[in-house]
């Protein structure tokens, strides 16, 4: 009788957020899973041939222990695409960056898109690193219309107090008219279906006062 190796058994640890929820609610209400390969360097794969050793370097990669800080885990998630795909979804926005004066009365429209087409169902999560520069509002909600103020763990080291998070398809940015000094921050855009991400700089300029 040999061991059944079709099932891999692993032990999970609670993240800090998981422990908080367990303490608050008595349960953590797990509903879904995601997978990642953060440690893997795919450039080490040897293309060509039928050698069983093409991926030896990848299979031998030592795996790190899990960390309890959720922002440091699963930064690069695996994604499901149709067979034959040649590209991984890439998020783009029309503007390479946003530079706007604090006195600007209008709004800046941000319309992310994913190529190839993706993120059509759950839309995008936008994280404004420093909410002091202005305000994000949702112009068009995503199909499932599930607003969230949760920062996806893929964003990494984001201060939850100073940042703003919105979910939708199309967004508007309104600069803070009370800003006292020119300030630049990052706007991170995450595809909620694809896991892809992109980041652009947002700068709100303050006119120099002349006496």
């Amino acid at each position: 009788m040999f061991l059944d190796n079709t099932t891999i058994t692993v032990q999970a640890i609670l993240t800090k957020r998981g422990r908080e929820l367990l303490a608050q609610n008595g349960n953590i209400n797990i509903t879904s899973f995601a997978l990642s390969d953060d440690e893997i360097d795919y450039t080490l794969y040897q293309n060509g041939g039928n050698s069983a050793f093409n991926d030896l370097a990848l299979r031998n990669t030592p795996v790190m222990e899990p960390l309890t800080d959720e922002s440091q885990m699963l930064k690069h998630k695996l994604v499901t695409l149709t067979q034959g795909a040649t590209s991984i979804p890439v998020i783009s926005v029309s503007q390479p960056n946003i530079i706007v004066a604090s006195t600007y009365n209008g709004t800046v429209t941000i319309t992310p898109s994913t190529t190839p087409a993706y993120d059509l169902q759950d839309g995008y999560t936008l994280v404004l690193g420093n909410k002091n520069v202005g305000t994000l509002i949702v112009q068009q909600a995503n199909a499932t219309n599930t607003p969230s103020n949760i920062i996806p763990s893929t964003v990494g080291n984001i201060n939850t107090v100073s940042s703003q998070v919105v979910v939708g398809n199309i967004f508007q940015f309104i600069p803070n008219s009370n800003l006292s000094v020119t300030t630049t921050t990052n706007l991170t855009i995450i595809g909620n279906d694809s896991g892809a991400s992109n980041s652009i700089e947002v700068t709100v300029t303050v006119p120099v006062q002349t006496s």
Binding site: T7, L14, D37, N47, L58, T61, L67, T80, G84, S194
Partner: protein
Amino acid sequence: MIFTPFNPDTDIVLGRTLRVTSGVWPNNGTSISQSTMVGDYYSLTGSIGNPSYGTSVYDIRRTAYYLNVFPTINEFNNNDPYLSVSYGNIAGEYGSGSYNSDINFSNVFPTKAIYTEYKNLLLGSTLNASSTFVMNTGSSTIKANDIFVISFSTYKMKDNIDAGGIQFSLSGSNGNFTFIDDSPFQSSVQTSYQIISGSLTSLPSTPNYQGIGVFYPASGIIVLNASVIANLVGFNSLLGNSTFSYNPGISTVDYTVNHQVFFLSLTLANNTFITQDSEYVPSTQYYVRVMNKLFNYSNNPTFVYDGTDGVHPQGLIYNSDFISNPQTYITTVGLYNNSNELVAVAKLSKPAVKSFNNEITLKVQINT
């Protein structure tokens, strides 16, 4: 798609309880040399009968009631006791420690208090004031009016001391004697087991019941029949000192000598104390079923070109082999709540290859 919902009916198994066993001793060891054991009486006082702390016999640190036992001097220095040993006497007016030399009157009854404490704890609700511990002698039973007790720290024994896994030795004027519990000879799980002579590596063919003692796994307590043990092992003038003798009627000292004699017998035995414990951990299991068409592509930045070389567009898969036969290497499983918050994470011991040609089932276990 990066998140896959669980099917609560088929993928989540609630209410599992796992038994986790480990050694009781330092570094999860299952055995410790008895000769390295340290008791807090000798070390703290410097000399027997001369406690260096407290002037009152009521001060429990004078060890009239029990001795804390440390596996080695290291645990002693860290004040990290693993067990205690004590002596109990059902009568109490006899037995060492019941006499207060400070006031020349018997008004402290540590041995009776010890006996009653363990009796109330271990013998159930049907006992009365005259109930005693009873040991099995094979065809009949014998009452134990005085007892030696080994009691493991709850922190160290976790949920219970495993039956069939204990062994300890005592040394006296009659030689060395090694004891185990009789669970290997029982056909069903019991709440208590008799202590018999023998060793784990050399089990007797049949148990020889001598009324030695009783082992309570769930309480982590071994109750030994003091008079039987003293006669069997020979607790007379250990180390050639008549002070180190078992004497249930001694009444002229304000400290308890009998459990010190028992502890000394433990340390003099040139053998190991073997013990392992069990912990029952509630857990939930999540079955992560990665079907053949799922998760064959990655957002890992090395999986694709970044578009900076002016030749390959951003997002194009880096390895040409992966266009016809994409492969990913799973290292991490993240479990999310309905707000997509990462609440638990598990790592695989080595990357698991995933492609359109295979499926993987991961059993992710969370102990809560």
